[in-house]
Amino acid sequence: MNAAPPVLDVANLWVGYPSYRSETVHALRGINLQVAAGEIVGLVGESGSGKTTLARAVMGLVPEPGAIERGQVLFAGRNLAALDDAARRAVLGRELVMVIPNPRAELNPVLTAGRQISNVVLHHLGVGRREADRIALDMLRAVRIPDPERRFAAYPHELSGGMAQRVVIAIALVCSPRLVISDDATSGLDVTVQSQVLELLQTMVREKGAAALFITRDLAITAHFCTRIAVIYAGEIVEIATTRSFFRRPRHPYSIMLLAAFSHNPALRARWTRSQDAAGDAAVAGCSFAARCVRCRPLCLTEPPSLRAEAADHAVRCHFPVDTAA
């Protein structure tokens, strides 16, 4: 890894949601994650694993009533959660940006696409409206939207999903950010449009020299676009490795289960998938994945595993890492 300090440094981050009648639900349980400049890190997990909470925590915007319980997030050395509102707003959208899914619902319905890009330019770069409009139009060209002049004046409901996604990418990258977070950004798109948009995002991130955190449910995406991959399960990183090492030799049973889900071999899928109905609730004290793990042993039910380095570029949270090359 690079010697330069990471753009993003998440250190032992715990985020909890207090619950009305029962105990606090811990959405993130001791996340450690660094993203260096120029890196594209993929964060893979199923719904409810804490992906979006992590994205919000990085921006210093943990959704109410959640709160950071332990640890901290440093973005370029600054703790965004500790900044006041105005200072945080100066960083968000400028240095740290978010590419959102379902942009047609998240863009302002009564402002034109061009105006929404130029608003960000206007407030972050301190230029006048005319200059901001010019930069916005250039950005629409850069994201290769067809007929950019017309789209500039179009309202979100007049754009297709793919075009709206390009507008959101334009908003994200127009101020040349240092870190781009993409939260399931392409999940709502057609597969063909999805790969176009992802490629565009990858190129633009590289061109702007930014780092990226790619949050997704789709392992296949990470294989093509990421330099490193982290798998998150129940608020914990269970495996983290370079893309090469991860796909060559996945070690955690959950990672293998995710990979097997893409397989055309039903026997392979069956071998790594355990019916959740068969699982008890016994794993509270031990490994969080024990109840769904096909390789669960007595130790897994009593002792939580820690994240151990199996190689220089590969760490896994498992008592009995899988040792076969997949």
Partner: protein
Amino acid sequence: MSLLRYIGRRILFVVPQLLGIILVSFFLVKLIPGDPAVMMLGPTASQQSLDELRQKMGFTQSLPRQLLHYLHDVVRGDLGTSWQTTQPVTQDLFQRFPATLELISFGLLLAIAIGFPLGVAAARLKQGPVRKFADYYGLLAGAMPDFWLALVLIYIFYTKLNWSPPPLGRIDMAVVSPPTVTGSMVIDSLLAGDWDALSSSFGHLVLPVLTLGLINAGPILKMTQSTMERTLASDFVRYADMCGLPRRVVLRQAIRAALPSVVTIVSVLYGFLIGGAVLVEIVFSWGGAGQYAVQGVLNADINPVLGFVVFSAIVSLVIYLMVDLLYFALDPRTRT
């Protein structure tokens, strides 16, 4: 250009709408018990004179025939004569409608001035004194009858403090009314540069406007608050926050998105108040259109009632047309 076509089409549709409204209200009014002839001639009139009057007024004809007659007159701009004022109904209404419109227009302006900012503030602050005040205000405004509030205000500001003029009409009897231009006494006095008339008419306007404003700020407050809460929690506001746009810019965008529902509630209140402000009109002897219509109903004076229905239907239709045009301006999604 499509906008002009749209307006033209809407105005064209006013004709069948008016026809339907007249049709329904004509038969409804005819159902009101009471014989105008008896009312007009008094209890001692002879049967013969009653019959003659009925004959003269066309009450002996069949209902459809009477309706046709009425429609025929309406088309020529004649809404009949009121036997109480012995004047043409159109003339009466042209005197009284501006009084009502002045009252409810200023009343609603005040209601917006109170309800809208309070609603926005209450939506932004989840707890604290402002939120609490807004909650109680909404409850109180909904629970209080307007005529009762009017009486309380009169008791305090006229009877006790003597700050306001007596609740008798729109202007002091000793002051000469300004020449009619807009129909609003206050604006007309201003246009005429007549300061005596201005201060007198303004003084008379304060309490009734305060009554309507304070009461109707309630629904506007509630609507603004709930819409703003929804907007502030919406995806696009969250996204604008994530883009680091300044707080005031995000708030402005949210208010902009909440405006259409506020416009809707204001237009509904306006249409309702044309007739609904009648109790306030009576308390202040305002001499408005609602009062005129109620007197017509009580005294089996049919023409003023029907005339009032026609007038308020036209005003409502104009207001709804204006609302639709406002929607066009506010929301690009409606411009398809």
